[in-house]
């Protein structure tokens, strides 16, 4: 769907022939996975299908045994978190995205603080920019100040801040690992809406979820995994909720 409008049909990011085994367990076998421009792709499958191994590999936490990666057709190395981030990938986890005892502003800049010559923080710049980030990417009710502590936010607000943080720092692929599983219904709606907005704004999202209804609401394309392999990749127009359910259940 997104690809049809994109003249350069080169995927934004490709993982080719990825295999990974832990001892005798083949977690991934010859997996191909691509992320296209401006799309939300749902990564589906039952527990143990290999989704989280794939996400860990893409975010640079785990190295595959074999396989290669391409960004816009060019080979890239994503063998560490830094390299993965340099390749434009940012991962949003359900629970470990932010330091709860720190303010929103300090979380946004944790690990990439703007500093002067002696390493002192540019507080004014941090404040102005974090206000802009909140304004541009979040606009979620209840966030009135970048000084709020993350622990005082609801799950959805915190998730929105984590997403804003990732997007602001020039990542164009967001991996969202079960981002909605701890959220209330309303907050889930908000996060789903943010994903849609991001995709249209040029940030592709990989949405890992158990919830097929959520996936079907926002995704342009679905990749179903089972037993360490990709079983099917299908765009939304060519499938239905029932078919996806069947695919996951029968494998």
């Amino acid at each position: 769907m997104a690809n049809a409008t994109d003249p350069a049909s080169v995927p934004l990011f490709e993982a080719r022939n990825i295999s990974k085994s832990y001892g005798h367990v083949n977690a991934l076998m010859d997996v191909n996975f691509e992320v296209r421009q401006k799309e939300v792709v749902g990564l589906l499958g039952d527990n143990g299908a290999g989704k989280s191994t794939l996400i860990k590999i893409l975010s640079g936490v785990v190295n595959p045994d074999t396989g290669e990666f391409r960004r816009k057709g060019e080979k890239v190395d994503i063998g560490s978190r830094r390299r993965s981030e340099a390749a434009g990938i940012q991962t949003i986890y359900q629970d470990i995205a932010l330091v709860r005892s720190m303010s929103i502003m300090r979380n946004i800049y944790a690990g990439r603080e703007p500093t002067g010559p002696l390493g002192f923080l540019k507080m004014r710049e941090m404040r102005t920019t974090s206000m802009q980030i909140l304004e541009n990417y979040v606009r979620i009710a209840g966030i009135t100040s970048p000084d709020l502590m993350v622990e005082d936010l609801s799950g959805g607000q915190a998730q929105a801040v984590a997403i804003a943080r990732a997007v602001h720092f020039k990542r164009d692929i967001l991996l969202l690992d079960e981002p909605t599983s701890a959220l209330s219904v309303r907050e889930t709606e908000k996060v789903l809406a943010i994903m849609r907005e991001l995709a249209e704004g040029g940030v592709s999202c990989v949405f890992v979820t158990h919830n097929l209804y959520h996936a079907f609401r926002v995704c342009d394309r679905f990749v179903v995994m089972a037993h360490g392999r990709t079983v099917k990749s299908v765009v939304k127009a060519d499938t239905s909720l029932n078919e996806l359910t069947d695919l996951i259940m029968t494998h």
Binding site: R81, R82, E85, T91, Y93, I96, A97, L98, V99, R100, S101, M102, R106, N107, Y109, A110, G111, R112, E113, T115, L118, G119, F120, L121, M123, R127, T128, M131, Q132, L134, E135, A141, I143, T144, S145, P146, D147, L148, M149
Partner: protein
């Protein structure tokens, strides 16, 4: 999202600056980790002043000699607590500071009496401190063991090491040049110099913790090491810096004490590390890391000293202080917990 009491008169769509603002002053006081200790300190101070006005001959709190004594003694534990506090925020303990406080100035005094130039002797003290901090950090982080254990061991090792170095001497004279004694232990107007230096060091600690990149990392690794790592922060290096700073602050405090007394002694100052931790806890620092403020440490040190002063002025036996510290540690944690939950 702009509220009705918004004072901005400009029309037009609200800008980011209109929608998001600094938290209100009250909210900032409420959220500030030094809030409870600030209230505790104010209450205590007010109580002392009232008592002193009511019983001017029995409770001589407001006598200038008494006030000067307080200002002179606050920095003693306070300076150590600054370093311990930084490390606590990073999520680690250091029980060896009491030994470092004694041994590094002892090394300085020994080197100085044996003819080393003063700057070199001072540098030696700081080098040893940094070395001990580094070792504490490397062992704790490298092997993944609790810093409580590492530094408990280090406490005994360091404490017993001094006599070996200098052949079982118990004390060394340290007659520092007058200019050094004046700048460290003299007076600035009515204010004793140790207190002035304590405030300077507190400012340095504040600049580091709240205004410096590494300080931001200290809060992050103490608050949630996993999240910090995922944000690309080097947890190992950040904690290592905190361990070393902790020892360095203990050495600064030790040098002040040796210059004041003209003597460096190896007999251990009992419980000094625990008093430093107590000050931090009273000051609102979390024992699980990631929370705290320099203002809290300064106020915590003042509270401790005020209580000691009250005990002295009321002619109560000295062990009341220990008992009071014990109560305050527990109470301090409880109050911090309650205040956080309440709002």
């Amino acid at each position: 999202m702009t509220s009705e009491n918004d004072l901005a008169l400009a029309a037009g769509p609200p800008s980011a600056a209109d929608r998001y603002r600094r938290a209100s002053r009250w909210a900032r006081v409420r959220m500030h980790p030094a809030g409870p200790v600030g209230i505790m300190f104010s209450g205590l101070l007010l109580g002392c002043i009232v008592m002193a006005l009511l019983f001017p001959s029995d409770f001589v709190f407001l006598a200038s000699a008494n006030l000067k004594l307080i200002l002179r003694t606050v920095p003693n534990y306070g300076m150590i607590a600054l370093g311990v506090g930084i490390l606590l925020v990073a999520g680690e303990y250091d029980l060896s500071v009491g030994a470092v406080y004694v041994v590094t100035p002892f090394a300085m005094a020994t080197a100085y009496t044996q003819g080393w130039p003063l700057p070199l002797a001072i540098a030696l003290a700081f080098a040893i401190a940094a070395g001990i901090g580094l070792l504490n950090g490397l062992i704790t982080l490298g092997f993944g063991i609790p810093s409580f254990i590492t530094t408990l061991g280090m406490l005994f090792i360091v404490r017993t090491s001094a006599p070996f170095i200098v052949g079982y001497a118990r004390s060394v004279n340290f007659t520092s040049p007058p200019w050094l004694k004046d700048t460290l232990t003299g007076s600035l107007g009515p204010v004793p110099m140790p207190f002035v230096w304590f405030l300077v060091l507190a400012l340095v600690a504040y600049a580091f913790l709240n205004r410096h990149r590494t300080g931001n990392h200290v809060f992050a690794v103490g608050g949630d090491p996993k999240a910090a790592r995922f944000a690309g922060i080097n947890v190992f290096r950040t904690k290592l810096v905190a361990f070393m700073l902790c020892s360095v602050f203990a050495t600064i405090a030790g040098i002040f004490s040796v210059v004041r007394l003209n003597t460096a002694m190896t007999n251990p100052q009992l419980f000094i590390e625990l008093f430093a931790i107590a000050i931090c806890v009273i000051g609102g620092l979390s024992l699980s890391g990631g929370r705290g403020s320099v203002a809290g440490i300064v106020l915590g040190a003042c509270v401790l000293q005020l209580v000691q002063d009250v005990i002295i002025l009321s002619r109560l036996p000295g062990f009341y202080l220990d008992m009071f510290v014990g109560i305050m540690i527990v109470l301090g944690v409880v109050i911090n917990q309650v205040v956080r939950r309440k709002f």
